[in-house]
Symmetry: C2
Subunit: 804 residues, 2 copies
Amino acid sequence: MRQVGSVLWPKLRTLQIYGANTGVGKTVVSTLLLKRLKKHLPDYDVRYVKPVSTGPLTEADNRGVLSKTLYQFDEPLSPHIAARTAKEPIDDQSILLRLDEELSSYASGKDGFVVVETAGGVLSPAPSGNTQADFYRPLRLPVSLVGDHKLGGIATTISAWESLHVRGYDVGSVMLFEESRYDNHTYLKDYFADRGILTVSLPPPPAPATSLSDDEKQMSQYYADACTVPALERVITQALEAHTTRLTQLQSLPARAEKTIWHPFMQHTERTERNILAIDSAYGDYFQTYQSLPPSESQTRQRFERESHVLKPAFDGSASWWTQGLGHGNPKLALTAAHAAGRYGHVMFGGAAHEPAVGLAEMLLRNVGNPRLSRVFYTDNGSTGMEVAVKMALKAASKRYGWDAGMERGEGRGDQVRILGLKGSYHGDTMGTMDCSEPSVYNRKVEWYKGKGHWFDFPLVKMKEGKWLVEPPQGMEDVFGPPQEFENLDQVFELPDRGAVAEKYERYLKNELERLAAQGIKFGALIMEPVILGAGGMLFADPLFQHTLVKVVREHAPSLYQTQGPTTEQPDELSWRGIPVVFDEVFTGLYRLGRFSSSSFLQTAPDISVHAKLLTGGLLPLCTTLASESIFDAFLSNDKTDALLHGHSYTAHAVGCDIAKFSLQTMMEMDRGGKWNGFKKQWAIPTTGISGLRGKRATVATALAENWSMWSKDFVTEISYEEKVESLFALGSVLAISMKDPAGSGYTSTAATGLRDQLLAGTDVADSVIHSRVLGNVLYLMASMTTTRETLESIEEVVKAAIK
Amino acid sequence: MRQVGSVLWPKLRTLQIYGANTGVGKTVVSTLLLKRLKKHLPDYDVRYVKPVSTGPLTEADNRGVLSKTLYQFDEPLSPHIAARTAKEPIDDQSILLRLDEELSSYASGKDGFVVVETAGGVLSPAPSGNTQADFYRPLRLPVSLVGDHKLGGIATTISAWESLHVRGYDVGSVMLFEESRYDNHTYLKDYFADRGILTVSLPPPPAPATSLSDDEKQMSQYYADACTVPALERVITQALEAHTTRLTQLQSLPARAEKTIWHPFMQHTERTERNILAIDSAYGDYFQTYQSLPPSESQTRQRFERESHVLKPAFDGSASWWTQGLGHGNPKLALTAAHAAGRYGHVMFGGAAHEPAVGLAEMLLRNVGNPRLSRVFYTDNGSTGMEVAVKMALKAASKRYGWDAGMERGEGRGDQVRILGLKGSYHGDTMGTMDCSEPSVYNRKVEWYKGKGHWFDFPLVKMKEGKWLVEPPQGMEDVFGPPQEFENLDQVFELPDRGAVAEKYERYLKNELERLAAQGIKFGALIMEPVILGAGGMLFADPLFQHTLVKVVREHAPSLYQTQGPTTEQPDELSWRGIPVVFDEVFTGLYRLGRFSSSSFLQTAPDISVHAKLLTGGLLPLCTTLASESIFDAFLSNDKTDALLHGHSYTAHAVGCDIAKFSLQTMMEMDRGGKWNGFKKQWAIPTTGISGLRGKRATVATALAENWSMWSKDFVTEISYEEKVESLFALGSVLAISMKDPAGSGYTSTAATGLRDQLLAGTDVADSVIHSRVLGNVLYLMASMTTTRETLESIEEVVKAAIK
C-alpha cells in the first residue's frame, strides 16, 4: 500500500486555495493568481489542479496555464452529494493518491508552481463525506484562503482560518475582493497582520453582463486589468518565501538541534546532524520526516535540484515513546484542548474543583475495575506520579507499623524503609523513582542514586519457534522448575490452572521474605509494572509470579516485619494488607495491552495505581495516582505537616483533564463498539468442541480472545522462527522482538540496532519507512489504538523483509 | 469598578443565539423559538434581548414576548462600522454591563427564559471592533447556533461552531432551515451528534411576497405553523436540561471532589465541601466561582430560589500558583495549542527535532542574557527540571574533581556529594529536589527525604513603614551589621555602591566554606532561587548576598574541596568555576519580576538555569533546563551510560513548545512596546538634577524604573504602615505582605489566613472577591502580565479595606 504523506519538493511550489465560503470567488481569484504567476515567473512551469470539481467547467480557457481536473461532477452541489451519482464510491485515499501522482509528475529539475483549488468552503464535505480540510490534511499543502467580501464575511473568513489553523495548516495569505460598503478587507488586514498572515484585497469582477459573449469579453478585460495589481505579487512573494523558509528550517533543523538541544537519553558523542530526525509534521500513524542531509554541500545542492520530494512518511513505531492512542494531528483532540483552554486556561487546584478534573477522577475510578481505589492525585508525568505513589505507600506503612516515630526531628532518614520490586523495573527518571529500581545503567552514574529496595528475579513469558514459553531466570531452574510450554497465550493467563507452579513461587517468595526480614530490613511497599516491564527491556513477566508475589506480601508481610505500631491489623476488606501494593501502569495501562487496566491480567487489585502516557491520547503530559481510602487515611491528622505536601503548578490542568476524558471515552467506546474485534478474533483460540445438531466434532473458534494483540498471530508466529530472533511477544498494541546477541542482552547491546537502522532506511516492499526504538537487544513496535489492520499489515511486511 | 463575570441564575435560563453567517435567519429562528417558549412554558417569564442591533427593527411584533434592544443602529452594516456614526465610542465593557443589568432585572423568584440575540456571524465585529464571540465571552452564556442552510453552509456552520468551541462556549444545539437540495441539515445532524450537540431543522420561511401586507400575513401564518414543530421543543428541552446539568454539576462539584480528589498541599481533615472552591470557568484575571454551599438542605433550596446569580468573579490572586501570564481563556493561546496539536500532536523527542522545540530553545538562549548558556533540556515541570539541573551539576563537579571514580559499581552512593543553598529554599516536590532543601515542614515527614546540603542564612529585603530595609537574619547582626536603610529599591540593587557590606558577606561566606571543607564535605553545586525564594515563604533575599555567594564559590571553591581529579582548572571563560551555579528561576524568571531572566538582578550568570511556570503563559506544563557547554561536555564519552539518561514521554511536546514560543514572544513585545511603562514610571525615582536652560534645580523623574512592580508604589507604601503588617515588598507582578504573628512566622502560622478569608468573602468596596493563597504569615498576590492598572487598583482598594 502506498502511504500518502505530506509533500514538499524543493523546486515545485504548491499553494492550496481554500474558500472562506462558496461563492467568494475562489476560481476567479485562482485565475488571477495563475495569470500573475505566468507573468511574474515566466520561466516557471505554472500549473493548476482542481482535484474535485462540481458544476460546469468554467474559466479554463482564461487561465492560460495547463489545467487539470481529476474528478468532475456536473451538478453544482456539495461533492458528497454529487458523488452519490458516481458509479463507484470515491474514497479519500484514492483521490489523494491520484493528486499525489499528479503533483509528482510536475516535479522536475525545473522551477514550478502549482495551484490546487478545493471545492466549496474549508469544511465542505469531500466526496467521501469527510470535510475538505480533514480530507486534504495528510498532504498539508501551504494554503492561501480566499476571504469573504460580503456582509458577514469577516466572521466567515476568520472562522474558516481558525478551522484550517486547528488542523495544523500553514495559512500564509488571505485574498479577498475589495468591497467598500462592508469594508471587510480593512478589518481583516489588521486582524490577520496581528497573526502573521498577509491579507490583500483584489478588484472585484464586474457584474454579469446580459449576453454570454459580452460577459466573456468583460471578464477577459477584467482578468487582464486585475492581474496587474501589486497585491497578487505580494501573495506570490509570500508563497515563494514561505516555501524557502520551510525548506531552510527543515534542512537546518538537525544542525540547529545539534547546537542547542540536549536530547533525552542520548550519548551526544553519537549524535551528528545526520542522525537527528527532522520532523515537519505528523498525521495518524506517521511522522513526516525530512530526509537526512547528504554529507557534502555540493550534494546538498544536488538534492535540492532533483525531483523527488524531501519528506518521507515514517511510521511512528514507538508510538512516540508509548504515548500515542488516537493518532497524530487528531482534530478532535486539538479542538478538545482548545475548548478547555478557552473555558479555563489553567486554574490552580489548591482546594479547588473543576469539572474536567473531578469528571476525569470519577471516570478513572469507575472504570479501573478496582474496588479498593477511591482517591485521585494529579501530577504531570509518570515519574512524578510514581514519586507520589512511593510517598503514599511508605507513609501508610510507616504509620501503621510505627516506623515514623520521631520523623519530624533531624535531617530526614533517607532509606530506613525500603521497597520490594522486580529486577529490570523502571519507574521514572526523577531520583526518588530511580531509587525504586536496582542499580542499572540508567541510574548507576547518577550522583544521588541509592537503590532502596530488594528486587526479585522472575520468569519471563515469550514466544519461541511458534510456542509460548514461561522461562525461569537463568540458574533458577532448581527453584522454579524447567521452562513451561503453553499452547497459547490464554493458558499462560489461566492462573487457577497453574496451581503447582504457584506453590513453587509462593514457597520461594516466602522464604526470601523471611530471609530479608531476618536481616532487619523494613519494607514499606511492593512496586511493580504489571505484565510488562517497559524501559527495563520489554520484559513480559509471568503473570502468575506477579500474582503470587502480591499474595505473599499481603498474607505474610505483617508477621515478617518489625512491627512496633499500635495497628498491625487491616481495618477492613478494602484496606491494604501486609504492605501497600503499588502498580505502575504508566506504560501498561489504559488499553496499551488491550484492557483498561493492566492489573486485571494479574487477577489482583493494587492499593495504589499510576496512569499516564495513553491517558491523554498522546497529546500532552498528565498523570494520575489512584489510591485506596486506607492509604488516604494515613495522611489525616490535625497537623498540616502530616499531609501529602506535594503539588505541581499545573496540577490537574483543565486542558490535560479534558483531553484525558475525551481520550478515555473514545477508547472505551471503541472497545464496547467492537472496533478491536478484528484483532481479538484473530487471536481467538481454536477449540475442539461439539458443533451443530449432528454432534459432529469440529474446530470452532472462540469468538474473541481475551489476551490479544493488534499484531497478527500469523506474523508473530512466523517471526518467532527467524534465525536472528531469540524470542518475541505481542500483547495489545505492543510487539517486542528480542534479537540474538552472543555478547549478551541488556541496555548496551547493539544486536537490534541493525534492524532498527534497516527499518528507518526503508525496504523494497514499501515507500514509507519505520521509525523504531530499541532497548538493548530488543526492538519493539507499538501502534496507536486507532491504527488499522491494513497499516499494520504493511508494517509487518516491511519487518518480515528486513528481518530475513 | 463593577466586574463583569459569567452569569448564572437558578431560575432564569439564558440562551444566546449566534449565527453561522449573516442571512441565515437568526431573527426568524429566534422568533420561532420565543413563540414556542411561550407555548411550551406558559408560566415562564419569556424575554428577548438584542444587545446590539443594526438595520431597521423587524419582527418585534411577531415575537409576542417582551423585547429589548440595548443599542440600535439604523444601517444594516457590521456593528463596528455602524458604530462609527454613534455620538460616542461604545466599548465592550459598557455594553456588557448594560446587558448584565438587563438580565439581572429579569431574574426573580419566577422561572424565566431569556433569548439573547447576537449580530451578524459568530466572529462579526462588535461595535468596539472586537469579535462577537470574544466580546461576549466574559458572560459565557449557553449557546444555540443558527446553522447555514445554503450552499456551502455545512462549512460555515462547522467553522462557526469551532470558533465558539475554542473560546470555551457551551454550544448545546444547532438549528437551521430545512433545504432539500443541499441537504445541509442531514449532514450536520450526524456531524454534531458525534460531538454531543443536538441539531434540528426547521421549516424555511416563505419567499418574500410582492406586497408588504401580504408578506406580513404569510409570515404570520408561517410563524403560527412552524412554531408547532417538535424540533423547537427539543431545543428548549436541551437548553433546560443543560441549565439543570450545569447547576447540578457546579453545585455537586465540592462534594464530588471531596469524595474522589486527593488535593495537593492539603491536610484533608481541614477540607469540607464548604471550603472547596468550585470553578465554572475563568476569564482574564478572574475565576468564575460557584458560591459555597449553604449548610443545610433547606437553605440550599432557598438559595436556588432567590434571584441573585450563583457565580461570582474571584480575582485569581495567586496567578494560579504563579503560572498566569496572558490571562485565562485567552483565545490566542487556545488556537496556538490547537495548531500545534493539529500539526504534530506529540512527536517523541529521542534523537528528533521539530521547529517548536528547536525554535523555543533558540529563543530562550537568545534572550536569557547569559552568554554561558548554550544547551536546552526539556522536562515537564519545575521539579523535574530541577532534578535534571541537580544531575547535571553534580556530574560535572564529580567528573572534574574525580569524585566519580568507581560509581558504576555498587548500589549507588546516595549523598557523598552535597549542595550549597539558602535556608527557606524550595525546588520542587520530587524527592531529589526535596533533598536540595534543608529539613522543613514540606519534606521532614517524607520517608525518603534526606537533606543533602548546607544552607546559609541570609539578609532579607523588605519595606517597613515606607522604608526599604535590608535586615540581617536574627542573631547575625554581629556578622552582617545592623539593618541597612535605603531611599528606594533601586539602591538595594546598586550592588557596586554597597562595597563595604559586600566585604562583610564575602568574609563570612569564605569562612563558612572553609569550615565546611574542613569537615571533609564535598559540595557539587550552588543552588538558589534568585531574588525571591518562593514556596519557602516569599523571602526577598538581599541581591548583594546572593551575588557575593556566587562570587565566593566561584573564586574559592576549587582550593577548598578535596579535588583529586585531573582537571581543577576552568577550561575557558564561559566554563563553570569552583562549583556549578544553578539558578532555579522556575518562579522568578520570564517576567514574573519584570525581567526576562531574574539572574540579571544579581549581576551574575549561572551555569544552569531552570524555567517553567510563565513559560507557557499559564496554560499547561513545560519546563526547560538551560546549561552551559562545560556542563554539557561532562556527559560526553564513548560510553552511553555516561549520558544524561533522563527523559519523559512528552519531552518537548509540540503543544507546550509552541505555546511557550507564543507566550515569550508576546511578553517580549509587551516589554519592548512599552506596555508596562505605566508601571515603570510609577516606580521611577525622583532625582534631583539640573533641568532646562536656566540651570534651575528641580526634581525630575527618571523616565522608567528598572526595578518596578505592577502594584502601585503609593499602595505598597500605605500598606507598609498598617499595624497588622510586619513588612511587605512588591516586585514585578508579585506583592507579598508579612502579617505580624506573635507566635512566630513559618508555614504553620495562621496570621495571614484571616486576611485571606476576608478577601474571599468580599468587602463593601467591590462586588467581586479575591482568591489568594498564604504561606504561613505571608499573604501574597500576583497578577498576570496582562492585568491592567484599573484592575489592580480595584484589588488594591479591596486589600486596603480588608487590612485596616
